[in-house]
Amino acid sequence: MSGAADTGRRRMLRRFLAHQGAMVGLALSCGMVVLAAVGPSIAPHDPIAQDLAGRLSPPGAGHWLGQDSLGRDVLSRILVGARVSLSVGVVVVCVSATIGTLVGAIVGLAGGWVDEVAMRLVDVLLAFPGILLAIALGAVLGPGLDHTVLALCVLGWVGYARLVRGQVLALREREFVQAAVALGAGRARIVRKHLIPNLLAPVLVQATFGMASAIVAEASLSFLGLGVVPPTPSWGSMIDDGRLYLEQAPHVAAFPGIAILLTVLGLNFLGDGLRDALDVKGSS
């Protein structure tokens, strides 16, 4: 049994390593994680220090990516902003995946009215398309990093709950689970030994795409003035600041956008590769 599982895992790993898109995504994602980890210590300037004499200066020797409307160093703000963006992404994904997996597993196993009530709640939350609910919550709660995380988690768990519930319903009917039940295995053992190992792959794929969505959502909220509070650097608010000076200083809006694009592209490539390698259907 364990030999067969090892072979399966090795085959998945080989498929993953042979997937060109996955490798590009892995490289981009790892690069961003490293930048977020060391960014604040390698930032050439203080990201909130203003230098009004040099405002809107183009990229040059002293400031590789130029200066913004208050003369702050764009590169330093992108590096520090990476930590903000990735932290929000990680926290939102961890909280959402944990709550969603628990809820999905519980309602999938319980069935009956518990399932009905939970799924109607999910339907209600899904009636708010895109980041509409997060915008509404942001509007009521006011800007702030903690409010942004809360707003994104309120909707974030729903996708995981639906995914896990569907998986649990399908797994319950599979022969190996039926066999375990017939052999007298308890509910806890079935969950631990049979359900959780089979749920990991789809949840992992969903979490990779979810991280990309959370990063874009945080940047969108900050762009709208509902996310991170200035002067803390956020890629979204940097673009909002830069779009007022597109003609004189396009670099202010362009570079943070490229940072978001590379991060999200990397995560989406990685998610696609993981989905193909782990043979997961229906996540995106």
Binding site: G21, L224, A253
Partner: protein
Amino acid sequence: MRSFILRRLATSVPVVLGVVTLVFALIHLVPGDPVDAMLGESALPAQREELRHALGLDRPILVQYAHFLGGLVRGDLGTSFRRATPVTALLAQRYPATAQLTLAAMAVATLVALPLGVLAALRARTWIDHGSSAAALFGVSVPNFWLGPMLILVFAIRLDWLPVSGRDGLANLVLPAITLGLGLAGILTRMTRSSLLETLGEDYIRTAKAKGLGPAVIVWKHAMRNALIPIVTLMALQFGALLAGSVITETIFSWPGVGKLLLEGIRTRDYPVVQGVVLSIALTYVAVNLLTDLLYAWVNPSIRFGGRS
């Protein structure tokens, strides 16, 4: 079909009620006082009381909820705090612009995605397919709040081909429609490719080939007809995402739609407007989903008679 419609309508009722309740709760049950948020800390106690009374916030919460529901039934979403205009009048004024932008974005997405997806499916696992997949992933990944300013920079400022903002003519629609539609184009390209690939493997396509039909007839007349069903369904389901995305796009291009109205409401803390816009977008989304399901059942009898999971 009638019983399917009734069943589907019945499942929509609790969702609509849930949406209405959630939007009501957003304003009334979150920590903090909406009156404080609207007036700021410097407001006098008398001003606070006056506004609290005007908004009905001095009544018990259940009475407020009943009043809110009663208003909704009569098509009354309250009055804008800042403009002293009924919210429904503001929505009626702004919705055509948002509908125009959303439909234009869908047209852009379709024009880009269908040819690209078909080409990728017909040349599967070649560099054309890989290129199309990479382009689709780029479309999905590029944030619209960055794409919009970059399009303005290139096509409005540098090349001076298109206007920066406003809604004076068709030229004004081009950049916002591309900004809003590119993400959907990416999703649709992937869907078109996978749906057409699946259809091209069906028996009736083999029969068509055996009959000696040309490739163009096989793809456009036989395969696409069936491949289009999931594509059209996806487009309808993405309509809501476009409506939500219009908040950002309308802000960037000063497009006078409901998205811009929502942000104006947020900035001026005009909660009746925020509540009305959020509710109207969510209910439009529920209605479009319902319509999609009914249309889907109409073209696909197995759903009508077998039920849909």
